[in-house]
Amino acid sequence: MKRPTELRNHQRELYYFRWRLGIAAAGAVLLFTLLVGRFFFLQVVQHEYFHTLAENNRISIVPVVPNRGLILDRNGIVLAHNYSAYTLEITPSKIKDLETTINGLAVLVDIQPRDRKRFRKLLEESRNFESLPIRARLNDIEVARFTANRFRFPGVDIKARLFRHYPKGELASHAIGHIGRINEADLDRLEASEDMANYRGSDHIGKLGIEQSYEKQLHGVTGFEQVETDAGGRAIRTLSRRAPVSGNDLTLTLDSRLQEVAEKAFAQYRGALVAIDPKSGEVLAFISKPGFDPNLFIDGIDPVNWDALNNSLDKPLNNRALRGQYPPGSTFKPFMALAGLELGKRTPSYTISDPGFFTLPGNAHHYRDWKVGGHGSVDLHKSIVISCDTYYYGLANDLGPDNIFNFIGQFGFGKKTGIDIEGETTGLLPSREWKMKRYKQKWYAGDTISVGIGQGYNLATPLQLAFATAVLANNGTVIRPHLVRSIFDPVTNQTRTVPAAKPVATLTLKPENLELVRRAMIDVTQPGGTAARVGVGAPYLTAGKTGTAQVIAIKQTEKYVESRVSERNRDHALFIAYAPADDPKIAMAILVENGGHGGSTAGPIARIVLDYFLLGKAPPPPVPPIEAIEEEHD
């Protein structure tokens, strides 16, 4: 009896087990059905949506940065070009611990503390999700070493990039300027100008000088590539491509060899020189000394170099030629003389007897001539040759402020010259209205007196002085000065010259008056003139005028003695000139800061530049700085 029971028991157990097993199987089927439903939802119902997402994942549009245009001097010498090299770039948004990553990279690639500092600075200024260079110009070994370890550094990549390079370094740095990384302010400007699309992919933009003002021509048109990318954002292959269009090449009016000669001629002096071809308005040399190496700025300057440049007493970043405003001093006199002649206030034969000072009627104040005791009898010719102050005090008084403002304003004083780089200052040619507006004061007769010799409120940039000299040399034909001569479009293979070479105005000046001033200016560079050294033994005639711009005011009872004044408070030396005087090919203005007298420091620089430009003569080896000898005065 027992066995059947057990069997029945066994049967019941088995039945029960199978019942449970069936429930489990049903559960399994149910869950698998749930999966099928999920698959159907994802793969059929939402297929389109996920398909788009996958394509977005897969395909990205990568901008292809165009080659930036070259900058060449007038003889085709390269002043700015591009070269291809590898940079190591970090995308900070993809990295959790930047410090660890950089330390890891430093094992593979040489990373200096200055690279780190520069990177930190970039990080502060950067756009979101931008990749930033930690090291530029990797060598082949470094590239290989990083590539082998790339998997360890997500968010870090090597990029082949075009680099801007200024092979001449400091040379003409204030004219050429430089590019730099695009910052927030640039972005705002780009967005406002609707150029943003063209800068997708661009990291750099012109920041200064020609690089800035001709940005549109130099940049080119950005191309695009449709690339398949992986999850790390790395391009796998290109699906389609629109080639970028290279930027235009610029040929400058600058003669880089002349520029070099002139820069060397400054030796240790600070200052500026602008030389213009008076017949075309082409700027032949554009110097602001000291200069700076524009290469430092391309990828963000490191703090050490920045502090050195920014805190230097010499202010190398200051564009003296374009923005430095100095009293024109006696270089103002030829223009005053012309005003006197043209407006009938003076005749060539009108002569004064110079006691060494000038007084206004009914006023005891002595307006002193630079020469104690005066120059004796002085006519217009002599007033320029020996730079007589007393003559011009009287002339200024006779002309009055309105005549001076209107006539001399025609030569560009007090206005921007319109040169093709940005940041120009206007200088100052004072007028009654200006004084009322600025000081809420009426114009006094005394104001006119000092304006007459280029002092007082007068201010001019070296560029303005050179421009005015060019107008004078060109007999009153006004041509806007410009730095770019022609623009070459590599796509159409066409070169177009810059339209600015046409005259914008012609001043009505009597040829005999111009001739009188010219003759006097020639004699300035002849024996007996204030810049006699400029003309000594030269096979061409130079028309020039020296000038001195006071840095500190001297009291009525004091005499300015150079040796007693600390170097930085010494007068600035000025010299304007054009040559050959009978057929001017070059007109220029030279400023030597704290150079003392125009004839002794600025004059020799002019001679070196003229000898080189007109005769092709190599400059003499640089002479060691000499204490200015007071053999000439202005």
Partner: protein
């Protein structure tokens, strides 16, 4: 000269092999190799490596299949005891890697939790079989304890995926042994009630996984990344898929762990819904065959063991596919017989070896 009798050798080799089960398994393994070859970026080396893993696992299966269920049952206690000891060893002196303490270094690094995947159902089946004559509530209590102790140790490592699978395998034994519905419902209710407590005991990353499941877009580059990218892979695959080697999500690195836990996303992207249905069908065949073996098994031990192994296998597949398709949280469960990896392959095939042993020794028992 001994004449080699090929027929005899063949018989000897296949005597304890269930050909139906084996052929279904081989179909899965073949699918695995096909998708793996694509997922590795057509890396022949890694694919051959996986073939070797399979070969080793098949040999292990063959050995186990040739051991009779009675002998297997005898191994239950020692294997379980050893496994438990090793787990305690891990808890005390285990190696930490990726924030988890799962390995024990005894000359070689071993992962005792892997062994427990089989040891726990084996032990439970053996124990309940011994108490078969008068199975009462106390026995179930002891069995639950046998389950909870190793699971607790594994949860602490932490290895949520393995703990889940082992709990499931133990639960299946208890369920099939006839644990009363009232107790099951009670356990479920207890589980629900203890959820907040469990939540507070969880590691941050575990909580994150669950939160991410609810809303993957919350953390698209972190925890949600896996789910978002695998959903995109599945969805963009469409009905017929993008074709072998053409899965962009897979080959452009968007899919994480695409040869192991997320291999199904690669498969679904390249072969689409059609491929998924085929894969599910083959799984159903394997599971169906396992259930048939369990249903026909002669003893309580073999029934419980076979049923648990089969249902655990189902659980593997369901949890993995559910996680890849975004209906379950991301737990580290591979897709059985498809995912790359030697250890889980061996564990799975040893389990199938036991199924085959149960099936092929049945006649001997009955006769």
């Amino acid at each position: 000269m001994i004449k080699i009798d090929l027929r005899r050798i063949w018989l000897w080799l296949t005597a304890h092999i269930d050909s139906l089960l084996l052929s279904f398994m081989l179909m899965l393994m073949l699918i695995g190799l096909i998708v793996l070859y694509s997922a590795t970026g057509q890396d022949l080396g890694k694919t051959t490596g996986q073939m070797l893993n399979m070969l080793v696992a098949l040999m292990a299966m063959w050995v186990v299949a040739n051991v009779s269920p009675q002998h297997i049952a005898r191994a239950a206690l020692p294997v379980y005891g050893l496994g438990l000891l090793l787990l305690i060893g891990v808890a005390l002196f285990g190696d930490v890697s990726h924030g988890a303490r799962r390995w024990l270094n005894i000359g070689i690094r071993i992962q005792p939790s892997e062994m427990m995947k089989l040891a726990v159902p084996l032990m439970l089946a053996w124990y309940l079989d011994r108490r078969e004559k008068n199975l009462n509530l106390k026995d179930f209590g002891v069995a639950v304890l046998m389950l909870v102790v190793p699971v607790g140790l594994i949860v602490k490592q932490p290895d949520l995926g393995t703990a889940l699978l082992i709990s499931a395998s133990g639960f299946y034994v208890l369920f099939l042994a006839g644990l009363s519905w009232r107790i099951i419902l009670g356990l479920v209710a207890m589980g629900a009630a203890s959820a907040p407590i469990l939540w507070s005991l969880m590691h941050d990353y575990q909580r994150q996984r669950i939160l991410t499941l609810i809303d993957p877009s919350q953390d698209p580059l972190g925890a949600g990344y896996h789910i978002i990218q695998s959903s995109i892979a599945l969805g963009s695959g469409g009905i017929f898929g993008k074709g072998w080697f053409n899965g962009t999500q897979a080959h452009l690195d968007f899919l994480p762990e695409r040869t192991t836990d997320f291999v199904f996303a690669v498969y679904a992207e390249e072969f689409g819904l059609a491929g998924n249905l085929i894969l599910l069908a083959v799984y159903v065949l394997v599971i169906g065959r396992g259930l048939v073996i369990a249903a026909k098994a002669p003893t309580l031990f073999s029934r419980l063991l076979a049923g648990s192994i089969t249902l655990t296998f189902f659980t593997y597949a369901f949890v993995n596919m559910g996680m890849v398709s975004g209906i379950l949280p991301v737990v580290g469960v591979p897709l059985p017989l498809i995912s790359y990896g030697g250890t889980s392959m061996v564990t799975l095939l040893v389990g199938f070896g036991m199924l085959m042993s149960i099936q092929t020794h049945r006649k001997l028992v009955q006769s």
